[in-house]
């Protein structure tokens, strides 16, 4: 194989790799919408406010990402949370505490449920907190499974289940 053939082979391989990544990265409009919605929720949770009315408005905004009958299961030993109102109440009450945390979401995988306006989402949520004394940031990562439903043209979270990676 002379040098020209080698260069052609490299170019073909590079193009094939680009095509493969483009094929792998393709996603439908709904998948994109769900990702944007989840990213928007993350941003909303990380935006903290401490004044009274702002806290309530913020909690209501967070609640809008969930269905009326949402169920949140945080794992063994934790009581499941039912309903959007409960989520909003918790969001309002816990804001002074959650303001110390920063939420990061990684490896968000969306899989549409065929024949239904629903999707299964798998993601890793990391709660980052900086120590006041040492300045060191600690990370608590957990895996979550979400069920999303499209209601009135908007994707909302209907179920959140924490997955025990280590049992």
């Amino acid at each position: 194989m002379n040098r020209r053939h080698a260069i052609r082979a490299i170019v073909v391989l590079a193009l094939a790799a680009v095509a493969w990544f483009a094929w792998r990265g393709r996603e439908s409009g709904d998948e994109r919408a769900i990702r944007q919605r989840i990213e928007s929720l993350r941003h909303e949770i990380n935006t903290s406010t401490t004044d009274g009315l702002g806290t309530l408005a913020h909690a209501a905004q967070i609640g809008s990402y969930f269905t009326d009958d949402v169920t949140i299961e945080l794992g063994e030993g934790a009581t499941p949370i039912h309903g959007r109102d409960t989520v909003m109440g918790m969001a309002a009450r816990l804001q002074p505490r959650t303001a110390a945390f920063r939420l990061e979401l990684d490896d968000v995988g969306v899989e549409m449920v065929p024949g239904a306006e629903a999707a299964d989402v798998l993601l890793t949520a990391s709660f980052l907190r900086r120590s006041v004394s040492t300045g060191e940031e600690s990370r608590d990562a957990r895996e979550f499974s979400l069920v999303c439903q499209k209601t009135a043209g908007t994707w909302r979270i209907a179920r959140v289940t924490a997955i025990d990676t280590l049992r």
Partner: protein
């Protein structure tokens, strides 16, 4: 050709471009699929790994060999971007328990020279299935409730930490 251009692009720009493409491709494949760079965060692997230290995970380490006791492994959560780093203390089919902070595997005390401080952890005995390993961090000086450890399915093991 100006000196700057010659320094940046070399004497033969086309050849330089090919070299750059090949090097980028090799780096992309190596650090994407073969050796994954990871940064340890948290204190669960102290004193072996300090928080913030950089390490490499070999994804091919277990292509021809099974994970063994004492290996420090990377475990995936939903994907490859956030990983747990833990040490294997028990293998598939074995029984494992913590009694007063000491690990017992199949009823025998496990020698763990990598552990410095121990709290009195107590975990009832569990028997691992043929697809499970028992993993835990080296820092046993923290409360068991604050430490993520337990059984992990073999499909979640990403690779072995090289250093």
């Amino acid at each position: 050709m100006s000196l700057t251009r010659r320094i940046v692009f070399g004497r033969h720009p086309r050849r330089t471009l090919v070299r750059v493409v090949v090097l980028a491709g090799i780096s992309f494949i190596t650090f994407g699929w073969v050796l994954i760079p990871v940064r340890a965060e948290g204190i669960s692997m102290l004193p072996t790994f300090e928080s913030g230290s950089l390490h490499l995970v070999s994804r091919v380490a277990y292509s021809y060999a099974r994970p063994s006791r004492g290996d420090v492994i990377a475990i995936r959560l939903a994907g490859p971007h956030v990983l747990y780093v833990k040490r294997i203390i028990a293998l598939p089919g074995e029984r494992v328990a913590f009694i007063n902070g000491q690990v017992y595997v199949n009823g025998a005390v496990l020698n763990e020279p990598y552990v410095r401080n121990r709290r009195m952890w107590d975990v009832p005995e569990v028997t691992l299935t043929q697809r499970e390993y028992f993993v835990v961090g080296d820092n046993r000086g923290m409360r068991a409730a604050d430490h993520d450890f337990g059984r992990v399915d073999v499909s979640r093991i990403v690779g072995k930490l090289l250093f």
